[in-house]
């Protein structure tokens, strides 16, 4: 059964005078307040509690927690022989709604392959992280699973990632 009927809460005298409901709400928030305060105090004294007093992740100090399938920065994949998988078919560049991908093609030395990417630039300052490029790619050359979300830079120029950087061959460093 896909439809689950939910009965509306009835309006009784108890809920209409509101005072009891206020008290019930306050009981919940007071419980949270005092339980969390107790946990904070115990942890400050070095006593282990069942749960922490807060669910906050202190982000810059503690690393961000990402799901394994989180859609993060793009990554270019390589074939078994170490060459980039990209065949410069331009499907990703064509489908990109933000027009943030720019590919130039060249002849591939391998006679079985028609062409390959000479340059492959993604401007992350324009990217909207829709994932269409990953969907469009026929050869599984691009994925968005680099598990990297810290993508800020001081200049617009530094928001553009080139092919070696996307392949992971060269670390991304600001251009001087």
């Amino acid at each position: 059964m896909t439809v689950r009927p939910v009965e509306r809460p009835r309006r009784t005298f108890g809920t209409q005078i509101y005072l009891l409901e206020v008290w019930r709400g306050l009981a919940i928030t007071f419980r949270h307040l005092f339980v969390n305060l107790g946990r904070h105090a115990l942890r400050a004294l070095g006593v282990k509690t069942a749960a922490p007093g807060a669910v906050t992740i202190q982000y810059p100090e503690d690393p961000a927690v990402l799901g394994r399938r989180a859609r993060t920065r793009h990554r270019l994949l390589k074939r078994g022989d170490g060459a980039p998988r990209c065949t410069a078919c331009l499907l990703c560049e064509t489908i990109c709604p933000a027009k943030c991908i720019r590919i130039t093609a060249e002849d591939a030395p391998d006679p079985r392959i028609e062409k390959r990417a000479k340059t492959f630039d993604i401007d992350l300052g324009l990217c909207v992280f829709c994932g269409y490029c990953v969907e469009a790619c026929p050869v599984d050359a691009i994925r968005m699973d680099a598990q990297d979300v810290e993508l800020s830079a001081y200049t617009r120029r530094d928001m553009i990632w080139n092919m070696p950087e996307l392949l992971g061959d060269v670390p991304k460093l600001p251009r001087v």
Partner: protein
């Protein structure tokens, strides 16, 4: 030094303490309480980054950081605004709230150093109506702010502020009718002394009046669940065109008004400065200190409760607020008043 000059200096010292020490001090502290209390009850940590030489002190420096930020921000007045009224509005709002603080009974009269010291800054035989009237003046600041901003959203917030005042202001005074009739005085100090004489706090004689006044008082502070003039998520409200310290003054007004309401509740319902079992007026200077401490602790506990309510309840819709004021609080206040009169008549 002549006696009159001495008296004037003492009064000035009391007023300065009430406004700057008690009022603005607690108001600044409340900014921290607001952030931390809401954070802990929502399983968060709350603001904890502001530090001095690496000391974070649980985020206690955030009010200072906020004040510095507001003082150094651009003070922007929109083109269509009335410059004079725009600048005057926050002063009226905050000034009215701060004045009320000076009329609160922080303590009774104690004898020390060979003379009597009255710890109430501004003693008035009509203390309760005085505080209520000046507190109501604060609403003028809101209407003025919205009207002078030259902004539709500001005006909307101002209108909501005016309508809210209509909803709570009558009940605010009416709910006190019974308890004041019982005490037989309009003087806040006399009300405290009545409770001391009878060894009975007002909350036990007039529990309904306590609830009604606390509700109407919460509406008077313009904080959730009665933050209709602001309505942050919808219209931002009367202070939408304010920036810098002028906005900070409006922010402060809410806290100061909360302190005033809690001070009134303390004086009228929680025995004011008295501590059960202790004869504070007879203890000299120590008694005076204990009076101020007892009053402050009661006010802080009430503020804690109001803060908890503010972070628990959702905002009332407009018709719900007017219904609450006119159809529930006012009839109950009048019934309470009638019952009190009959009670006193039959008991005598």
């Amino acid at each position: 030094m002549s006696l009159a000059l001495d008296q004037a200096a003492w009064t000035a010292a009391k007023v300065v303490f009430a406004i700057f020490g008690f009022g603005l001090g607690i108001a600044g502290f409340l900014g921290w309480v607001e952030r931390k209390q809401s954070a802990v009850m929502q399983d968060r940590i709350g603001a904890n980054r502001a530090s001095i030489f690496g000391f974070r002190a649980l985020g206690l420096f955030h009010p200072i950081a906020d004040a510095i930020k507001m003082l150094t921000k651009e003070d922007f007045v929109p083109r269509g605004a009335d410059k004079t009224l725009h600048a005057l509005a926050p002063m009226i709002s905050l000034g009215a709230g701060l004045f009320c603080l000076a009329a609160l009974p922080f303590g009774g009269t104690v004898t020390a150093l060979g003379r009597a010291w009255d710890l109430q800054p501004i003693a008035s035989p009509v203390g309760v109506p005085l505080v209520l009237a000046v507190l109501a003046l604060g609403a003028h600041g809101i209407v003025m702010a919205g009207y002078a901003s030259g902004s539709g959203y500001g005006l909307l917030g101002a209108l909501r502020g005016a309508a809210q005042m209509v909803a709570y202001e009558v009940c605010l005074a009416a709910s006190l009718a019974g308890v004041l009739f019982l005490y037989g005085t309009l003087d806040l100090q006399e009300a405290v002394l009545w409770q001391v004489r009878h060894g009975l706090w007002g909350i036990f004689v007039q529990p309904l009046a306590f609830l009604l006044f606390l509700t109407a008082g919460a509406a008077a502070t313009k904080r959730a669940p009665f933050d209709l003039p602001e309505g942050e998520s919808e219209i931002v409200g009367y202070h939408v065109e304010y920036s810098g310290m002028k906005f900070g003054m409006f922010l402060m007004t809410d806290f100061v008004e909360s302190i005033v309401i809690c001070g009134l509740v303390t004086a009228l319902f929680l025995g004011g400065w008295s501590v059960p079992g202790l004869n504070l007026p007879g203890m000299g200077a120590l008694g005076g200190l204990l009076m101020a401490a007892s009053f402050s602790v009661k006010v802080l506990l009430l503020l804690f409760l109001l803060m908890q309510i503010r972070w628990t309840l959702p905002r009332f819709r407009f018709d719900q607020l007017l219904d609450l004021g006119w159809k529930n609080l006012l009839p109950l206040s009048l019934l309470n008043f009638l019952a009190t009169i009959w009670g006193i008549y039959l008991w005598r």
